[in-house]
Structure formats: structure tokens, C-alpha cells
């Protein structure tokens, strides 16, 4: 009886994944074409066109986010792994976990207050700040975990040779953990690429080509949001294409992360 019940649960739980994945695949593949990647959005009512500006925009937003989020995440990850056996470090770990539970829309509001209000207009910069804050917990956690996976005799060997601890960390431990940290970071970036809520009133969106970080900028996710609500079939079609691009990116990076970290575990 327990077996039947939990089997039914498994089926019900996994069903949505397949439904969503295959529906997006089906709708997306029939909608995606070269124009989607190369063309600009067409004015309302005209069919065709693409999301070239949104692809570039999402890229720029992620780049900006990485610029803010990665140094903070990586360095505090190193701190937690190397010097993290004290109450302060436990608090940081705890707060970082709590931060990862803060809704992304709230992070968007904070970015609005600290960037958009002083600048008096929406900008790619504000979107980047929001995405950067969202990346920090994931990057911190991954960096710490990947460093901790490095076998302790690597460190002992370095220290035994009289190499100072910071050099051991930078030249031996980090290079060894690099593969895991890099894929973890890519995963965080992919997750940031899928964020919509924190961009709505920071980066705003833009139907034209813009690469300036002081101006509103387009992004794939905000386009999906706008196009899904629109009563034009062609726009709905393009929303699915954008969703497919996002899901493909995220699943691919997830898979790479899996493969790389599995290698780590068996090495130990």
C-alpha cells in the first residue's frame, strides 16, 4: 500500500515536468528560426521579426550581474571554506541561505530603491545589480562546497612544503576546485537569465537595440511576459521560442554541472 501510494505520487510529481518540457519543446521548435536570433522585434501587428536585442540584453544583464555578484560570492565562499569554523562564519552561512529564500521581486524592489531612484530612470545597471544580489547565495555556497571537496592532503602537502596558507589556497586548492566552481557559477548565471520579476522595474525592457548600461534594456524573460499577455498569435509563438531557448540553456548547464560534480565525488 505504501508502495502504490508513493508510486502514484511519483507519477503525479514527474508528470508536470514532462508536460511542461515537451509542450515547450513542441511549441518552441515550431516557432524558432534564424530570424528569431538575428532580427529585431517588429511593430505591433506585423508578423515575423525576432528577439536579437533581447538576447543581447539578457547577455549584458547577466554580465553586469556577474560583475557585482561573482567577486562577493567567490570571496565569501573562500572565506567560509578556509576560515569558516567560527560563529561569524556560521551566521554568514545562515544569512546567505536566508537570502536565497528572499523573493526575487523583493530584490528587484531593493535595486529600484538603490539604483533607479537616485538615477531617476530605469537602466540596465539596476537590472544587473538585482541579478548580482540574486547570484550571491548560490555562488557563495557552491564555492564553499567545491573547495571543501578538495582532498585535505592537497592542502597538507602545500603547507608541508612551507607554502603560506593563502598561496596554498590560491595556487593549489582553487585550481583543483576550479572546474566545480566554474560550472556552479554557470548554473547561477543560467538561473539569473531565467529571472523576470526583478527586471520588470529595473531594466524595464526595450523594443529597440540598446547596449548602454544607463538605459532601459530588453531581456528574453520580460519579452516572454509581454508576448504571453499579447493577443497576437505571432507574439505568443515567439514567447514559446524564447522559453525554449531559456530552458535549453538551463537544462544544458544543469547537466554539465551534474557530470562535473559527479566526477568530483568519485575522486574523493
Amino acid at each position: 500500500m505504501a508502495t502504490t501510494f508513493s508510486l502514484v505520487c511519483v507519477l503525479l510529481a514527474v508528470a508536470p515536468l514532462f508536460l511542461i518540457f515537451f509542450y515547450t519543446l513542441f511549441q518552441g521548435i515550431s516557432a524558432i528560426n534564424l530570424d528569431f536570433f538575428l532580427q529585431m522585434p517588429k511593430p505591433v501587428g506585423e508578423t515575423g521579426g525576432g528577439m536579437a536585442n533581447a538576447l543581447a540584453g539578457t547577455g549584458i544583464l547577466i554580465g553586469l550581474g556577474a560583475l557585482f555578484g561573482l567577486p562577493i560570492g567567490i570571496m565569501s565562499g573562500i572565506y567560509l571554506a578556509e576560515y569558516g569554523n567560527n560563529p561569524f562564519a556560521s551566521t554568514v552561512r545562515f544569512l546567505s541561505d536566508v537570502l536565497s529564500g528572499v523573493p526575487s521581486i523583493v530584490v528587484g524592489v531593493v535595486a529600484y530603491i538603490i539604483v533607479v531612484l537616485p538615477m531617476k530612470h530605469f537602466s540596465a545597471l539596476a537590472g544587473g545589480v538585482a541579478l548580482g544580489i540574486l547570484m550571491i547565495p548560490t555562488v557563495t555556497r557552491t564555492t564553499e562546497e567545491m573547495i571543501r571537496l578538495v582532498p585535505h592532503y592537497y592542502r597538507e602537502a602545500g603547507l608541508a612544503l612551507g607554502i603560506p596558507q593563502w598561496k596554498t589556497t590560491l595556487r593549489i586548492i582553487l585550481p583543483t576546485a576550479l572546474k566545480g566552481i566554474t560550472t556552479g557559477i554557470l548554473l547561477a548565471l543560467a538561473r539569473a537569465a531565467g529571472e523576470t520579476a526583478p527586471l520588470l522595474f529595473t531594466a524595464l525592457g526595450n523594443r529597440f537595440w540598446s547596449t548602454s548600461i544607463g538605459q532601459p534594456i530588453a531581456s528574453l524573460t520580460v519579452f516572454i511576459f509581454d508576448y504571453a499577455k499579447a493577443p497576437f498569435e505571432d507574439w505568443n509563438r515567439q514567447a514559446w521560442a524564447a522559453a525554449l531557448v531559456l530552458i535549453a540553456l538551463i537544462f544544458l548547464l544543469n547537466l554539465i554541472f551534474r557530470v562535473v560534480t559527479r566526477g568530483r565525488y568519485t575522486e574523493r
Binding site: 505504501a2 515547450t24 565569501s76 544569512l95 529564500g101 593549489i172 529571472e195 523576470t196 522595474f201
Partner: protein, 336 residues
């Protein structure tokens, strides 16, 4: 082992040759002190960044408090109990949104918790390793799908299905209940609750599984030795894992409360309090997403920021509680 040592030796060679010659040739004492300086600088540098992470949560809370001062001063506590949300007259009461958030999250929990626990039991108690690993991975993938894609799928697949199948069925079979009254719109609380259930299922499942796995085998063996069936054994294990599953549920609730895009797209976005799950509603996160860019007056912006502040505080409390509960449970069993 042999290979690992060789690899270390190789990497050390690289380190040694690339370090600057003067450092190597200088005297023993000065070398040692320079190394200590390097250690100190590096440690404090990383500490500085850790301090940023530490202060971020407090900074966020402070900025939002400052941003919502206008509305806090004008409305006080009645902000949370007021039912009028009227930007034209600059009057803001957030109860419809609070109500929507609570109802949609509760619906999500009602659907997701039993399912998640079922899956977690399957993963930790019943499935052999070759089934467990890929299945855990699939469930985790579900967590990786962006909210906006859930929303898109919700709008074009889930909502039509609810409108044509679920709601007519419910009103026919249980229409006498006030929660199943009204016309089947599709967009509404029910759709929001269901999409949220799908979205919080992975986190509740994976944490419940971890908690179940942390329970020592001794308990299972004891149950089996007393002649318990698999079902009875599972009950014993679940009873020990109760508080851990509560923690997982709290974490799921935290997610559901703050979830924005998918909810905004299917909940109907109408600030009304209705007791039928068929009716459109609104949630705290979705009102921020919908109205922030349109907010023209300072009071309007301030009121929306106050909603964000409330969300922030609620999710932090839920997360902190959940982490403490899960942490204490796994710790107890690891120690014992």
C-alpha cells in the same frame, strides 16, 4: 593515491617556480613574516566580502523600511487590514493581496505536501539506487525551470484545462460548497494554487528526502524485527521525520509566498476577496509586479515598497525557522 601525489607534486612545482626569486632567496625570518602578512591580508580580504554578504540582508531591510516610511506613517497597521486599494484617491489597504497570497499558498501546500512526502518516501525508502538517482535529478530539474516558463505554460495549458475540465467537474460534484461557487474563469486562485504546487514540490521533496535519509537504519531494522510491514515501517520513519518535514513545508511555503511571475500570469489580478477558489484574486508579489512601473505618486510607490517589505520579513522568518528546524533534526540524527 600515487597519481594524486604526483599531481600535487606537479602543481607544487608550478607554484614554486612561478613565485618570485627574491622571496625564495631572502632570509628565513623575513620570509616567515612576509608570509604571515600575506595570510593576514588574504584572510581579511575574504572576510571583507563575507561581511558584505552578512550586511546585505540588513541593508535590504533598511532600504525598504526607508522607502516605505511614507506609507507606514500614514496608514500604520491598518495598511494590512484595509480593503480599499485606490491609487486615484491615494488610499491603500493591502488585505486583498495578503488574502490572495495566503489562500494561493495554502492551496499549493494542500496539494504539494502529500505528493512531496510520497515522492520522498519512494526515493528514500523504496527505490533502488538506479531509480533514485535519475528520479531525484528529474525532480531537481523541475526546480530549475524559470518561473516565467511555468507562467507561460500556465496561461496556455493549465488555465484552459482548469476552465474546461477541473472547474466544471468540481462545481458539478461539490458545487454546494462555497469554495467551489461561481463561473469557471480558469484564471483565478485555483490556477495559482496549482501552479504554485508544481513549483514548490521539488524543494519540499528534496528536503524531506534528505531528512528521511538522515534517520538511522536502526529504527527501520527495529520496526522490521518487530514484524512490521513496509507500510508500518514507513509510518515509524515518517513519525521520526515529522519535524523535518515540517521544516521542508515551511521552506516550500516561503517559496510560494514570494513566487511572482507564474502567479501573476494565472491569478487574474483582481484585488477582491472572494471565498470561491474559482474567482480571480491578486497576491502581494503580483501587485508589485503589475503596478510598480505605473505607480505615479510617492505614496503609491511607498505603499508598494511596504508590501515588498512585508514579503521580505515574512519570507525571512519562514526561511530562518525552516532552516533551524531542518538543521536541528539532521544534526540530532548525525550526532546520534
Amino acid at each position: 593515491m600515487q597519481i594524486a601525489v604526483k599531481a600535487v607534486g606537479h602543481e607544487l612545482g608550478g607554484v614554486l617556480t612561478s613565485s618570485t626569486p627574491p622571496a625564495v632567496s631572502s632570509g628565513r625570518a623575513s620570509k616567515a613574516s612576509r608570509w604571515n602578512v600575506g595570510d593576514m591580508v588574504f584572510k581579511n580580504l575574504t572576510l571583507l566580502f563575507a561581511l558584505i554578504v552578512f550586511s546585505l540582508v540588513f541593508l535590504m531591510g533598511y532600504e525598504m523600511y526607508k522607502g516605505s516610511e511614507l506609507s507606514i506613517q500614514k496608514f500604520g497597521l491598518s495598511f494590512l487590514t484595509g480593503t480599499t486599494w485606490d491609487p486615484v484617491r491615494d488610499e491603500y489597504g493591502a488585505l486583498p493581496f495578503v488574502f490572495g497570497t495566503i489562500v494561493s499558498s495554502m492551496l499549493a501546500l494542500i496539494v504539494a505536501v502529500p505528493l512531496s512526502v510520497g515522492v520522498a518516501v519512494f526515493l528514500s525508502e523504496l527505490a533502488p539506487g538506479w531509480v533514485e538517482r535519475p528520479l531525484s535529478y528529474l525532480v531537481e530539474l523541475l526546480a530549475a525551470i524559470p518561473s516565467i516558463v511555468y507562467g507561460l505554460w500556465g496561461v496556455f495549458v493549465l488555465v484552459p484545462w482548469i476552465r474546461t475540465t477541473v472547474e466544471p467537474f468540481l462545481s458539478k460534484s461539490a458545487g454546494f460548497l462555497p469554495i467551489f461557487k461561481g463561473a469557471p474563469y480558469g484564471f483565478g486562485m485555483l490556477a495559482a494554487g496549482l501552479i504554485l504546487a508544481i513549483m514548490i514540490l521539488p524543494i519540499i521533496t528534496s528536503i524531506s528526502r534528505d531528512v528521511l535519509k538522515a534517520i538511522p537504519n536502526l529504527q527501520r531494522e527495529a520496526a522490521l524485527a518487530l514484524g512490521a510491514t513496509t507500510w508500518e515501517k514507513t509510518k515509524v520513519v515518517l513519525a521520526s521525520a515529522r519535524s523535518g518535514i515540517l521544516g521542508a513545508t515551511l521552506l516550500g511555503l516561503g517559496r510560494a509566498v514570494g513566487e511572482t511571475m507564474a502567479v501573476t500570469m494565472v491569478i487574474g489580478n483582481r484585488p477582491e476577496i472572494s471565498f470561491s477558489v474559482f474567482d480571480p484574486g491578486h497576491s502581494m508579489a503580483s501587485v508589485i509586479a503589475n503596478e510598480f512601473t505605473e505607480a505615479t505618486s510617492d505614496m503609491y510607490v511607498s505603499a508598494l515598497i511596504e508590501i515588498a517589505l512585508v514579503l521580505f520579513v515574512v519570507t525571512i522568518i519562514l526561511n530562518a525557522l525552516a532552516r533551524l528546524v531542518v538543521w536541528s533534526v539532521t544534526r540530532t540524527y548525525k550526532a546520534g
